[in-house]
């Protein structure tokens, strides 16, 4: 008896069991969607009567993951470029832009941090410990574009692997300032945020995995107005 129960549990653990016999749909999303995942999940589950399972990763690794057969029906990337690569590899159906996320400065409550009121201040503050994303991450590529566009240079103390790590350095007070997404700043109201004039933004895109029917259904909800409300609540702008 107990052995049978154990067997059932083990099978459940291996195969992944929901609370009911609803099908499970896997969504592979960029880590910048972490904060909004819970609301999106309940929205999708209500609308579609399925069990939604989010897994987060770095957009840059999605291509390799899908190639290696990662279980996913829908992919949500933080920027255009990554999605274009997935599309041209034929891994996903035609994608839809669902969000726009603008770069913004967050500062720690240090003297130097408080003195920064613009991107130009940040570039001029030689003593400030500044952190930004690495060029290979979407936020870093956008940062590079922003600086080039503004004709400014920064000498960051570190180019962090992703936007979360970048934000953490300011939260812990190790850095005076960082360039992150508006959604990150909104998720941390305790940090001071500084608007960037003529900022650069990244467009987040979603797409169903090629030939995946569940994915197509999820996409219909994700591109709808209810999802747009949830996303805008979290600080994302309309694409």
């Amino acid at each position: 008896m107990s052995r049978r129960l154990f067997g059932a549990l083990a099978l459940c653990w291996v195969a992944g069991c929901g609370g009911s016999d609803q099908p499970t749909v896997d969504v592979l999303a960029a880590s910048s969607y972490t904060d909004v995942a819970d609301e999106l999940e309940s929205l999708l589950e209500d609308e579609l009567d399925v069990n939604i399972r989010f897994s987060f990763g770095s957009s840059g690794t999605f291509l390799e993951q899908l190639n290696q057969g990662a279980p996913a029906s829908v992919v949500v990337t933080a920027n255009d470029e990554t999605m274009r690569r997935l599309e041209s590899a034929g891994l996903v159906e035609a994608s839809t832009a669902i969000t726009r996320n603008e770069l913004i400065i967050v500062t720690a409550d240090t003297t130097i941090g408080q003195s920064i009121n613009s991107l130009a201040d940040l570039a001029a503050a030689a003593d400030a410990v500044t952190v930004v994303c690495t060029s290979s991450a979407p936020c870093g590529a956008a940062t590079d574009q922003l600086l080039e566009q503004a004709g400014l240079t920064l000498s960051p103390a570190s180019r962090e692997p992703n936007v979360r790590a970048t934000l953490t350095k300011v939260i812990l007070g190790e850095a005076d300032a960082a360039i992150v997404y508006r959604t990150d700043a909104q998720a941390r109201p305790d940090l001071r945020s500084v608007e960037i004039v003529d900022s650069v933004s990244v467009v987040g895109r979603a797409a169903a995995v090629t030939g995946d029917a569940d994915g197509t259904r999820v996409m219909r909800v994700l591109s709808g107005s209810a999802a747009a409300d949830v996303l805008s609540e979290a600080g994302f702008q309309a694409p």
């Binding site: 103390a157 570190s158 180019r159 812990l172 007070g173 190790e174």
Partner: protein, 265 residues
């Protein structure tokens, strides 16, 4: 051969051999041999390799200099303090490296318990090469201390007693009798610590950040490249693996060979 294991032992041992060997083989299989040279001589690769060698050797040196006295004390102690300190020494092995990095920030970051005093003195460890060395030493130290402590505990105390009776001071006993006797364990501990230091990622990126030429070591460069240029990432990974395997194989035979011949009698 009295010692020959039965065939099923070979069968079981083949499993971990494959699990450990397959990723290495796959890495070498995927190497883009045609543009190997270009990938190896890029600025990011050479500066990361140089930085990794310098910092990992510095971290190993720190482990030896400060780990030896610690191992000596731990090997002689029996009290509660000894047990607490030994448990602390194990901590970096158990701790996920990223957590170790956060803990280092909380201690030695510029707002950290110790770090704020250092900051007042004008010393900033986070985001610096010294911070990389600190993070590597933090994760590598247990490997050195534990291997040396075990050797010290196994060493017969009567060697030291003879030297003591012959008039050697405690420090003289340690340096002339004890240390040479455990030299193989010191060497093995140092190699383990070095191997752990050169492969360090989580604590380094959390505590020291990642900046080319200053804090971006080889593993950090690999991680960064993985998203930009996966084939160059594979090349750098292979460099790291080949370097580590070469050192481990060469040194292991040498030192463990010494141990073997001494145990024979």
């Amino acid at each position: 051969m009295i010692n020959r294991p039965p065939p099923w032992v070979f069968a079981l041992a083949a499993v971990p051999a494959v699990v450990l060997g397959a990723p290495l083989a796959a890495l070498l299989w995927r190497l883009p041999w045609s543009n190997l040279g270009g990938a190896l001589t890029s600025d990011a690769a050479t500066s990361a390799l140089g930085l990794s060698l310098v910092t990992s050797l510095a971290a190993t040196a720190l482990c030896v200099v400060f780990g030896l006295p610690l191992a000596w004390l731990l090997s002689t102690g029996t009290g509660v303090t000894t047990r607490i300190v030994r448990a602390l020494c194990l901590l970096p092995i158990v701790l996920p490296p990223v957590v170790g990095g956060v803990a280092l920030l909380l201690a030695f970051g510029r707002r950290g318990v110790v770090g704020q005093w250092l900051a007042d003195a004008g010393i900033q460890l986070s985001f610096s090469t010294a911070g990389v060395v600190l993070a590597q030493s933090f994760v590598a130290l247990p490997f050195f201390v534990l291997s040396v402590e075990a050797a010290l505990r196994q060493l017969d105390t009567e060697f030291a007693e003879v030297a003591h009776v012959h008039g050697a001071s405690p420090i003289r006993v340690f340096t002339s009798v004890t240390l040479p006797s455990i030299a193989p364990a010191i060497a093995a501990g140092a190699v383990l610590a070095w191997a752990r230091a050169i492969g360090e990622f989580g604590a380094t990126v959390t505590f020291a950040g990642s900046l080319e030429g200053r804090t971006q070591t080889l593993p950090l460069a690999v991680y960064d490249l993985l998203e930009r240029d996966p084939s160059e990432a594979v090349v750098l990974s292979a460099v790291l693996v080949v370097l580590a395997v070469a050192v481990l194989v060469a040194l292991r035979d040498r030192w463990f060979g010494v141990l073997r011949s001494e145990v024979q009698r």
